[in-house]
Amino acid sequence: MQTLLFALEVSLNGFMTGILYALVALGFVLIFKASGVFNYAQGVMVLFAALTLVGLQQGIVPFQHLINNLLGTSIHGFGWNMPTFLALLLTLLTMLLLAWLVEKLILKHLVNQNPVILFMATIGLAYFLEGFGDLMWGADLKKLDIGIPMGISDTVEQTTYDWFGYGFFIDRLDITASIVAALLVIGLTIFSQFSKTGRALRAVADDHQAALSVGISLRRIWVIVWSIAGLVALIAGIFWGSKSGVQFSLSLVALKALPVLMLGGLTSIPGAIVGGLLIGVGEKLFDFMVGPMIGGATENWFAYVVALVFLLFRPQGLFGEKIIERV
């Protein structure tokens, strides 16, 4: 019985962690769906959004190292902390500006190029953005706190104790992340299904050429979709940054999203969510049940093995579109 309860607790935590993976994976899906580009820079966008948020919040002067070196000054901060809401708003605007610049400076020049070329362009973007973030906000670790409650949920612990005689651990941050992720998916679905722009997005996703032929601006759609990916990156950055502090490892959360994409499919928003949940629960349960027998630390590779096996049977992922090329 005790083992069963532990397994249930592990599954619940895996479920919550899976939602955090799905948040990162969503950004990849949105861009791939609308433009066929696998955005290698999505992980760095998470980092950049979190860096910008915490930098603004803490009143850090952007490019202070550069300014100090060039002008011989010793500027470190504005001396004030920005209200969180304003910092969030300005960060969102920064991500919108980034989306516009990406379209203007990179994508515009690569229209009709092979997807591999676009993919390589996003690799360049990732490294540029990482260095730019470093130059703009500094590489030191920053504490991110926007008031999200963290730590064990007493309610869940007490309730499960009353029910089973064993109090479950659930992190309050993960509960908040689940709620936000659910709202995000609902919002994206409503936007996609019921707004004119959403319909245009779906048209572009279905067939670029056909969408262009009915007057839909591909470039405008790209700006919109990169902006939404920027918003998703900001949300993922808030939750992951709150857990670990904002530092350059944050971009590595993308590694957690890749198996989710392989499992859920690159073109499906529900796929990203379901894939995230399956990977989250699967890796935690595997580590709980098999980990002790093989020395632990199974989470990093287990997700990829599952995704690889899945690819063999369903290459397009659970919810991805099957690619049929007629000749």
Partner: protein, 428 residues
């Protein structure tokens, strides 16, 4: 336009023909100011550079010779570290300090061939303490096995010498570095009867939910941590999340910087880590650093990390190397020493309280001596504890010694095996 082109061409030719203006004492620093481990790499690189800048500015270098630091960026990547070594070894490099156990392992055979000493202060291959076999490697003043034993001794002190039946978990970076203390902790568990649970965390350690659920389920009494980078801060957050008592959570000296505790805020209060040296800036050395380095705008960084744990560690590291250079100069009667002479300096290093006072760091670290047989010092350390409200570390114990009865045979066994595998004849 033609004149400009001519001037550029001339400048290029002159720069190619003229010999580089090399300082006489060259020390490469394999830094990582970029990448996932940069929050740890930056203060260390700054501290190392600032101390030698002080010596150059205040004393005109060491023994009249200026010190030149060549910083080479590794991003904490082992392959890049080896490339940095290959790129800088021909610059007259006296000694290497890679600040990475992975890079250290790759360089151990190389430095022996090139006859350049390497100092891995509190990291790297533990059995390199046996100088009879590892002629070119020095890991004073303490090593990982000392650290493991000191942590257990601290727990013994807290429990009146009786820890039989206690549950102790080791949360470790799943790498050569993180695995270093396992053998020692297993031996010590046989001796003291505690129950050891090994919990690995894969790089980079952003997600540790499984590990901390296991600790919660297992109702561990103590958790030891061998982490680095973001793994540390996530572990401390997760420990706080499960309400693990922070005073029972003890990190190695590489898991005890401000970066590790600040993200958890006040919830990191009372977290402990081992300390190879003192904390803060309350030492006369900092007055000199202010006068000769910071106020003159010569600091390597933006000043935000001055006095932090990792900055202090790098200052200590550079002070030890500077003292070894001085020792080598005195031994050989020349100021422009070679790497072989530097090895002699390191091997005859004597760090007394008087020496540390002369650095401006009285009482900063334990005194120790290095010899041909002992390249690792005496293996003494303290315990520091985080005060979240004051946002500072406090040293809470005196010097704690490691259990030589357990560690010395392990060092002998491991180093002898290395010697047999590499056909090395013990030299002393």
């Amino acid at each position: 336009m033609k004149v400009r082109k001519l001037a550029i061409s001339l400048a290029t030719i002159i720069s190619l023909v003229a010999p580089p203006a090399l300082a006489d004492l060259v020390i490469p620093w394999l830094s990582y100011r970029t990448g996932p481990y940069s929050p740890s790499g930056i203060p260390a690189a700054d501290g190392f550079a600032d101390y030698f800048t002080l010596l150059n500015e205040r004393d005109g270098g060491i023994g009249g010779e200026l010190v030149k630091i060549i910083e080479c960026e590794t991003g904490y990547n082992t392959q890049k570290g080896v490339e940095c070594y290959e790129a800088t070894k021909g610059e007259g490099s006296l000694v290497y300090a890679p600040l990475s156990t992975g890079i250290t392992y790759q360089l151990i055979p190389k430095v022996a061939v090139d006859q350049i000493p390497m100092h891995t202060m509190g990291y790297g291959r533990t059995s390199a303490k046996n100088g009879a076999i590892f002629e070119w490697i020095f890991n004073f003043p303490g090593n990982y096995w000392d650290g493991a034993s000191i942590a257990i001794n601290h727990i013994l002190d807290e429990n009146g010498g009786e820890i039989s039946g206690k549950k102790i978990a080791l949360v470790y970076h799943n790498s050569a570095y993180g695995k270093e203390p396992i053998k020692t902790l297993e031996k010590l568990s046989e001796k003291y009867g505690y129950e050891l649970t090994l919990i690995p965390v894969d790089h980079p350690g952003l997600e540790q939910k499984s590990q901390w659920l296991e600790i919660r389920r297992g109702r561990m009494d103590y958790v030891l941590m061998w982490g680095w980078g973001v793994m540390n801060s996530v572990a401390i957050q997760e420990a706080a999340n499960i309400r693990f008592p922070m005073e029972n959570f003890i990190g190695i000296w590489w898991s005890g910087s401000e970066n590790d505790v600040l993200p958890a805020g006040e919830r990191a209060h009372n977290y402990k880590a081992l300390a190879l040296h003192g904390v803060g800036t309350d030492y006369p050395l900092y007055d000199d650093l202010k006068t000769y380095v910071y106020d003159k705008g010569l600091a390597a960084g933006d000043g935000s990390s001055i006095g932090s744990v990792l900055y202090n560690r790098a200052v200590y590291n550079s002070a030890l190397l500077a003292e070894a250079i001085k020792t080598a100069q005195e031994m050989h009667g020349v100021s422009d020493i070679t790497p072989v002479m530097m090895r002699d300096g390191l091997e005859n290093l004597s760090v007394t309280e008087e020496v540390m006072t002369s650095w401006g760091l009285p009482g900063f670290a334990p005194p120790f001596e290095v010899s041909c047989e002992n390249h690792g010092g005496d293996g003494l350390a303290m315990v520091q504890q985080w005060d979240a409200e004051a946002q500072e570390w406090n040293i809470i114990t005196g010097l704690i010694s490691s259990d030589k009865e357990v560690i010395d045979p392990l060092i002998m066994e491991d180093s002898t095996q290395y010697a047999a595998e590499n056909n090395i004849t013990p030299r002393c």
